[in-house]
């Protein structure tokens, strides 16, 4: 006897009816059970089709997503490298606290931008942190100066700092070593007796001023004078040659530029050998940005906006291209696989169930593409770093961060979800009669 109502026949005996028997006989449609079985079916079928020849469109989709995610991961790794200055990562990491709209590109030439106030107090607060090696406000101002021997005014960039005790940082490419540590004029409550007048000039500055070491420099409109105590080569460029720049004590520059009121400075340099200190810095000064770099304005300029822009651009481009590519290729796959859809429909699958199976197939392909793309992208970062190291002897530009893997996978899933409407729409348009030529 051919199977007919077999389960019922079995159940007519003394054996207790199992849940499964009841499911088959009553067509129980538990939502959770259906989702589970449909998911397993869709995923298994997708994996089977990837293993079998003749599923070029699915393979093509996977490769497309993999390439998009790999490129995004690689670019993101490089962007991450730029953001954290991987090229100069060493024991020392410098952070610059700048006003919220501040831009390291402009501070060397702009004098009217937003400044930070009460800088001595904030700086001393920062230096109390054990993880911070030193901190100094930096005030930069183009100032007219002249030597006592000449009457012609020349403009040089004066940079006011608080030379740290025990450290000899280079600011504006000029060593602070020769300056008296601390800020004696400020510490003496701006007593003229404490005025040091110390000035470290760049080679370009002494050339412009036609001055030499030990010479006195005056600033028109003030009674204060500076003495060139050291001359050093500075790499600071203006675009037409070396910039005439000189280092002085912060409070003394504030005194001659009117910045003493409010104790203002352009920015604050914080040096630390602990990258975790960044979060501390970010919370200490309101309405400021913390940027990372190694020098001073004009030299190896790098702001936080570039890596962020790179990362966002890579994400958006990957998402758009990946979505368009996946929608197109999976759309072709659905058109080619109409018979499968029609068979499911004929045996009683609802449009929603078929749509779910199709959606899961697309997302599964994208997920596999995302995993493989992330790994390829990580490999790409490694290759770039290796290539630059071997050919140009450059340090690593990209960072291999394992968080890039979940980032890539999540982006791939987003690609899958965003590309769903087209293949699902195509599946809904499939009619049994047309697809099966009934």
């Amino acid at each position: 006897m051919v199977v007919v109502k077999t389960m019922s026949d079995n159940n007519s005996g003394t054996e207790a009816e199992t849940d499964t028997d009841r499911d088959i006989n009553t067509f129980s449609r538990s939502r959770e059970k259906r989702i589970f079985t449909l998911s397993a079916f869709a995923i298994t079928r997708t994996l089977n089709r990837l293993r079998t020849p003749g599923s070029r469109r699915i393979t093509l989709t996977l490769i497309g997503v993999m390439i998009a995610i790999a490129l995004m991961t690689t670019v993101s790794g490089v962007a991450l490298g730029l953001a954290t200055q991987s090229a100069v990562q060493g024991d020392n990491v410098d952070y610059w606290i700048v006003p919220e709209t501040g831009n390291l590109n402009t501070i060397a030439v702009s004098t009217e931008q937003t400044r930070l106030g009460d800088t001595h107090r904030f700086t001393s607060r920062l230096t109390r942190n054990d993880r911070i090696q030193y901190a100094t406000p930096v005030l930069s101002q183009v100032v007219p100066v002249q030597t006592q021997a000449t009457t012609n005014r020349k403009y040089i960039l004066l940079v006011g700092v608080i030379p740290p005790n025990g450290s000899n940082p280079t600011i504006a490419s000029l060593p602070t070593t020769a300056l008296t540590s601390g800020d004696p004029y400020f510490n003496s409550n701006r007593s003229t007796d404490a005025w040091t007048g110390e000035l470290i000039a760049s080679q370009a500055a002494v050339t412009v001023l036609n001055a030499s070491a030990g010479e006195t420099i005056t600033t028109p409109g003030t009674d204060q004078t500076f003495t060139i105590i050291d001359i050093a080569d500075s790499e600071l460029q203006t675009g037409v040659g070396a910039a005439p720049v000189a280092l002085v004590h912060l409070s003394e520059l504030q005194a001659i530029t009117g910045a003493a009121d409010g104790d203002t400075a352009s920015q604050i340099l914080v040096s630390s050998n602990d990258q975790r200190v960044r979060t501390t810095i970010e919370g200490i000064y309101p309405q400021t940005d913390v940027v990372t770099r190694t020098g001073f304005a004009g030299q190896t300029v790098s702001t936080s906006s570039l890596p962020v822009a790179m990362g966002i651009a890579a994400f958006v481009v990957s998402l758009i291209i990946g979505t368009l590519f996946t929608a197109t290729t999976m759309g072709l796959e659905i058109s080619h696989d109409r018979q499968f859809i029609a068979i499911l429909s004929a045996v009683g699958y609802t449009e929603r169930s078929i749509g779910f199976v199709i959606a899961l197939q697309v997302v599964t392909v994208c997920l596999i593409g995302g995993v493989s793309g992330s790994l390829v992208g990580i490999g790409g970062i490694y290759l770039i770093n290796t290539f630059l190291a071997r050919t140009l002897s450059l340090p690593a530009v990209g960072i291999i961060d394992l968080r890039l893997i979940p980032y890539g996978i999540m982006t791939a899933i987003m690609i899958g979800v965003l590309s769903l409407p087209y293949p699902v729409w195509l599946a809904r348009r499939t009619t049994i009669m047309e697809a099966l030529r009934l």
């Binding site: 199977v3 077999t6 499911d23 088959i24 129980s28 259906r34 009683g348």
Partner: protein, 248 residues
């Protein structure tokens, strides 16, 4: 009967005189081309014209007629794949008119088994998995689905072909797998469109044996050009130009 109540349908009792499939003055027209600006200018073709019939459980009904006579259209309507332009089709008491595509799918899932001329098995799945496909959308566990499929395939003489892919099966074996797939949800009616069309005489006869046996519990409606198949039917409905010619 409302559409929603279709989910609560019980199977018709074998030998019951209550009809399991009923057509009342059913017509089906298809539009041909886009027509002009006015809706009434769209030309139509009548595939079925005023067909009425009743089929009871245990009946093996053949549908005969030349190509273009409306056999396939009638099967579509009886299998809830389509709805009539006018008239009513009732399957296990459920009127298919006004059912959404989702409700018709559910009706097919529970009350209708469909067998195609070209088998239409999923090539990437084994015979056992193919038979179990309809149960996936019911949320039944894989092990239980496969056990049930194995049970049916064994009774159809395919116990040694469970793990074979369709490509490695003969035409007769593939059709038996397709029949097993149509039986797994224990439907009230099986619709078969030229099920022996791709098979040799001997294999076709074996397939017809299965259909004959299946009518013990349900109705089998088989459209065919094959006289040998029609000879097995309890009665034959002959169509010509969309109209019913006789009911032997």
């Amino acid at each position: 009967m409302t559409a929603d109540s279709s989910t609560e349908q019980t199977h018709a009792e074998p030998g019951s005189t209550e009809s399991i499939v009923t057509c009342e003055s059913v017509s089906r027209e298809y539009s041909r081309g886009q027509g002009g600006f006015r809706q009434d200018e769209i030309p139509t073709v009548t595939a079925l014209d005023n067909i009425s019939l009743e089929i009871t459980p245990g009946e093996f009904v053949g549908i005969a007629g030349p190509s273009g006579s409306g056999k396939s259209t009638l099967l579509h309507l009886l299998g809830a794949l389509d709805t009539p332009t006018s008239g009513q089709v009732l399957i296990s008491g459920t009127n298919t008119e006004g059912l959404s595509t989702r409700q018709r799918a559910r009706l097919r899932a529970k009350q209708v088994g469909i067998v195609f001329q070209r088998f239409y098995l999923l090539q990437s799945l084994s015979a056992q998995a193919n038979v179990a496909v309809p149960l996936i959308d019911h949320g039944i566990k894989k092990r239980d689905r496969h056990n049930h499929a194995k049970e049916i395939l064994t009774q159809l003489g395919l116990e040694d072909r469970l793990d074979h892919k369709p490509g490695t099966l003969s035409g007769g074996e593939q059709q038996r797998v397709a029949i097993a797939r149509s039986l797994i949800t224990d439907p009230d009616v099986i619709i078969a469109d030229e099920p022996t069309g791709e098979l040799d005489t001997e294999t076709g006869a074996r397939v017809l044996d299965i259909f004959e046996t299946a009518t013990t519990d349900r109705a089998v409606i088989l459209a065919s050009h094959d006289q040998a198949a029609l000879d097995r039917a309890d009665r034959v409905i002959t169509l010509r130009d969309g109209r019913r010619q006789d009911d032997e």
